[in-house]
């Protein structure tokens, strides 16, 4: 069985800070990590490999430094790694990203494609289902548990207050939640091998059978009009009023902040 896992290198958004003076995002020195939902997807694939001897390939679309996250995947036990990288792919929204990845994946053998539900920088949760649409295969999102039975995959699909047990014929695409599992650690030997024994195959524009009109900034139906930092917290307001006024004040603030 062949499993393709899409992974993304993302800044660790827990560590991102706002420059208090300029109000901009401080990106330097922010560590990059493998997107947590993707890591769960990779772990699910590796468990299937452990159980049934599947081949696990990982693919990422990103700049050259995304090589690191692919090496991490190899160190965890993935068999092959592909980096789809080219200036032409830059600035892509989810449409262009999914077109590019789908085209790259169409060159590979796959029974199962696993993507993370969402990336912690983009937070859109769109690329997975869009890839499935381009490849015209079924997608099951929010996978909380996975098993393979013959040529079918059976998934525990999560909803807010329930879950469905869903069965689909492969090839199929799943999006994984970080709750799906506890990803394994890399091993030191795995890390050394990932850099010294294994290779990351680089695919540039010429290697990916996708239309120019569907890649990069120009192939993106959406674009960023403007970005700005979240309002920096003003020093706290302290009030000393009667009970009713105090409670009203809190209610107003909570509504203002969309918490209620």
């Amino acid at each position: 069985m062949n499993i393709v896992v899409c992974i993304k290198q993302v800044p660790d958004t827990n560590e991102v800070r706002i420059d208090p003076v300029r109000g901009t995002l401080i990106r330097e020195g922010v560590p990059t990590i493998m997107n947590p939902d993707d890591k769960a997807g990779l772990e699910a694939a590796l468990r299937l490999k452990d159980e049934m001897g599947a081949k696990v390939s990982v693919i990422s679309m990103g700049p050259m430094q995304a090589d690191l996250v692919l090496r991490e995947a190899l160190a965890m036990g993935a068999d092959e790694a592909y980096l789809v990288t080219d200036r032409a792919f830059g600035g892509a929204d989810t449409w262009a990203t999914s077109c590019t990845l789908a085209a790259a994946i169409s060159k590979m053998d796959y029974d199962l494609i696993i993507t993370g539900r969402q990336a912690i920088d983009g937070d859109t949760a769109q690329v997975g289902p869009e890839i499935a649409e381009h490849l015209q295969i079924p997608n099951i999102s929010y996978a909380e548990a996975v098993r393979v039975e013959g040529d079918e995959v059976v998934v525990k699909r999560q909803y807010e207050d329930r879950y469905h047990t869903v069965r689909a014929k492969m090839p199929a695409l799943l999006t994984a939640l970080s709750e799906l599992n506890d990803p394994r650690y890399m091993t030191p030997g795995g890390i050394f091998d990932a850099f010294r024994e294994k290779t990351v195959t680089i695919w540039t524009r010429a290697d990916v059978p996708v239309d120019d009109g569907n890649i990069g900034l120009n192939g993106s139906p959406t674009r960023v009009f403007r970005s700005f930092p979240k309002t920096v917290k003003a020093p706290g307001m302290k009030i000393e009023e009667g009970v009713d006024e105090s409670v009203q004040f809190v209610m107003d603030k909570l509504r203002e902040k969309y918490i209620l």
Binding site: P188, G189, F192
Partner: protein
């Protein structure tokens, strides 16, 4: 001369750091308070290959190098002195002795389970009457047919009782003095091999430190490690590697203490401002950092020398002597910087200070390291 870690070493370091943060740090206080051996951590380390870092894949190891192993010990030590010594004693001493001096059969039989983490290792040289004067071995081993019979006792053995495989030193020919000592591999559970009660220690309290007691303990002839009469060389050679591990432990302890101190002084306000604004505090931190950085390069250099296949006895002694001094000094300063809070268990630095002291003593006291270094200078 490239002083940056390679990509694989950097990623391995990140692995160890994540592991230490998630699995080791949360237990550190409890392990210390209850003198509890963190068996579950050992199992987790085994599962991700951390108990066989520098050993060949052929013997179940990870096929990495001494530097990678040093990084692991260092990261563990930053958060828990106990865990780092369990790892170090197992890898450098117990497994290390067999890796360096074992026959192919011995390595297959004993090194493999140690490297895969299936079994834990230990090293038993010290006796009640033989510490720095290691040559004064009183434990005896006598060949009887196909078996060696061991009688005697060892003291202060790390991982005692928890380990499955022990490298034990004994006198096989008293008349020969240092050249009458031999090394043996003894498995836990062998009749005649018992353990004393766990010692209650100043620091590294979760480390299992016990006496080993041998009463007519019979082991197969094949379990002689290295040649008969060459045991002292086995001990000294193995300890050279062990010293690099302990130096890494000491380095990690100092770094952990500095991290705690830096975080605290930024938050703690006295006289209307964070104490980090006072020059005394700043200068203290600068001195601590300086000592740590000097130590770091000595430790990594010793590891790199070993990995290059060159003699590293002096480098290891230099690293251990320096690192142990720095660990004791930096951890003590950290306690002082935290003031009253530094004396409270919850704030960790008092544990780091207690843990640091042993690095000046075991695997060759700082006095022994000075003997090694001056011996080389005055040759």
């Amino acid at each position: 001369m490239d002083f940056t870690l390679s990509k694989e070493h950097a990623m391995a370091q990140q692995l160890f750091r994540d592991f230490a943060h998630r699995e080791v740090e949360p237990l550190a206080q409890e392990v210390d308070e209850f003198h509890r051996f963190p068996r579950e951590t050992v199992d987790k380390m085994a599962r991700c290959g951390m108990l066989g870092i520098p050993f060949a894949k052929e013997y179940g190891g990870q096929g990495c190098d001494t530097l990678a192993y040093v990084l692991a010990v260092e990261e563990m030590a930053k958060v828990c002195g106990t865990t780092s010594v369990i790892l170090s004693a197992h890898t450098s001493l117990g497994a290390g002795a067999i890796d360096r001096f074992g026959t192919a059969d011995q390595k297959k039989k004993y090194l493999t389970p140690l490297a895969t983490g299936e079994k834990l290792g230990a090293f038993a040289l010290t006796e009640p009457e033989a510490g720095t004067d290691a040559a004064g071995q009183q434990t005896k081993a006598v060949l009887d047919g196909d078996e060696w019979v061991i009688n005697g006792s060892k003291i202060f053995i790390t991982n005692a009782g928890e380990a499955d495989i022990y490298v034990v030193f004994a006198m096989t020919d008293k008349a020969q003095g240092t050249r009458g000592i031999s090394a043996f591999i003894v498995e836990k559970g062998t009749p005649g091999f018992e353990f004393g009660l766990p010692e209650k220690k100043m620091g590294i309290r979760g480390s299992s430190t016990r006496e080993l007691i041998f009463i007519d303990c019979r082991i197969p002839k094949e379990n002689l490690l290295g040649r008969e009469g060459k045991g002292f060389g086995v001990a000294m050679g193995t300890l050279d590697g062990g010293r690099i591990g302990i130096a890494a432990q000491a380095l990690g302890l100092a770094e952990g203490a500095l991290d705690k101190a830096v975080a605290y002084v930024k938050e703690r306000k006295q006289f209307g401002r964070p104490i980090a604004k006072f020059q005394n505090t700043q200068f203290q931190l600068a001195d601590m950092k300086c000592e740590i950085e000097a130590t770091r390069w000595m430790v990594y250099h010793a590891a790199a020398t070993k990995d290059a296949g060159q003699p590293y006895t002096v480098e290891a002694a230099l690293a251990k002597l320096k690192a142990a001094n720095v660990a004791s000094d930096v951890t003590r300063r950290a306690v002082q910087l935290l003031g009253g809070y530094g004396y409270i268990q919850e704030y960790d630095v008092e544990r780091m200070m207690r843990d640091a002291k042993i690095t000046e003593i075991y695997e060759g006291t700082s006095e022994v390291q000075r003997m090694v270094i001056s011996g080389a200078l005055l040759k």
